[in-house]
Amino acid sequence: MKADALRGHLDSLILAVVEKQPLHGYAIIEALNARSGGELDLPTGTIYPALRRLEKAGYLHSSWSEVGGRKRRTYELSSAGRNALSAHRQEWRTFAKVVSGVLGEA
């Protein structure tokens, strides 16, 4: 799946992978790859501006912590981020249901 198709959804995907536990940037990319079955095809460098944007928007908190003996900036979902993720999930279910209903099966 190309980056263009992800436009507008990348933020929610990031929020979803940090929902359960705080993760640093590389771990977020790994989690996105694992949960998408390796189907996400976007330059991994694009994740960092997105993380910064989500943090300033109040959806993520970040802090420097020790990960595997190294200092890494880790990101954690805020309560506002949890609400935004929940809202996006609901919108996505509605959208997917509508599109599936129209497209039908081949």
Partner: protein, 212 residues
């Protein structure tokens, strides 16, 4: 110098702006490339192959730099807006209710009309300037939840701050001159409490424009 070091130097060069806004982003990029290189090395690649694969996955500087530039510019704009808000708050006290610099001298009759016009202008510029700064501060922070904020918004914030930072001190000093109260002490107070803070804002705005 490794391929990753060269890449990070190129990325740094492609992102103009204040160093404090770039530092964490570039550090995170370096950490990511270090982790990715290690992962490929652990999978059996040579160091050179691992670095090349990590850099391929990360994206070319041409692909990555625009979004990094947006982030840096917005960060710089947010700081400029915050500085403008902080500088504007005491100005009302300085000019109206507290020190009241503008009315501290003897107003010569021929200049009273011009003084009143400038007084009205500075009231409006002050109010609108402060309001704009607060809006810019909100937009460049949680405003990103709803609006696609980029370098254009950062540039607008910087130009706004620059205009306010020039207009208010110019009008302020003119008003002081008109009242005839521009003694060395008053001039020093005006430089300390008005010209200097607004100069700091203007410099921050200039750095923001450089990041755009």
């Amino acid at each position: 110098m490794s391929a990753v070091d060269v890449y990070l130097a190129d990325l740094r060069a492609a992102i103009p702006g204040p160093s404090w806004t770039r530092r964490d982003l570039l550090r995170e990029a370096g950490d990511h490339l270090e982790d990715a290189t290690e992962a490929y090395t652990a999978a059996g690649c040579t160091t050179a192959e691992a670095e090349a694969l990590a850099l391929r996955d990360f994206g070319s500087v041409d692909d990555i730099a625009p979004s990094f530039r947006d982030t840096v510019a917005i960060g710089a704009a947010r700081r400029t807006a915050l500085m403008l808000v902080l500088v504007m708050i005491p100005q009302a006290f300085l000019w109206d209710d507290g020190i009241d610099l503008g009315s501290s001298g003897q107003l010569a009759a021929p200049d009273a009309g011009l003084f009143n016009v400038l007084d009205t202008i500075i009231e409006y510029v002050g109010t609108i300037g402060a309001l704009g700064a607060v809006i810019a501060l909100v937009v460049t922070a949680i405003g990103q939840r709803w609006l696609p904020i980029g370098r254009r918004a950062a540039r607008l914030t910087a130009l706004w701050a620059c205009a306010v930072a020039v207009v208010i001190p110019v009008i302020g000093f003119t008003m002081l001159a008109l009242t005839g109260s521009l003694t060395p002490m008053v001039a020093l107070a005006a430089i300390a409490f008005m010209a200097t803070p607004f100069t700091v804002v203007a410099l921050s705005a200039q750095r923001t424009l450089a990041a755009c």
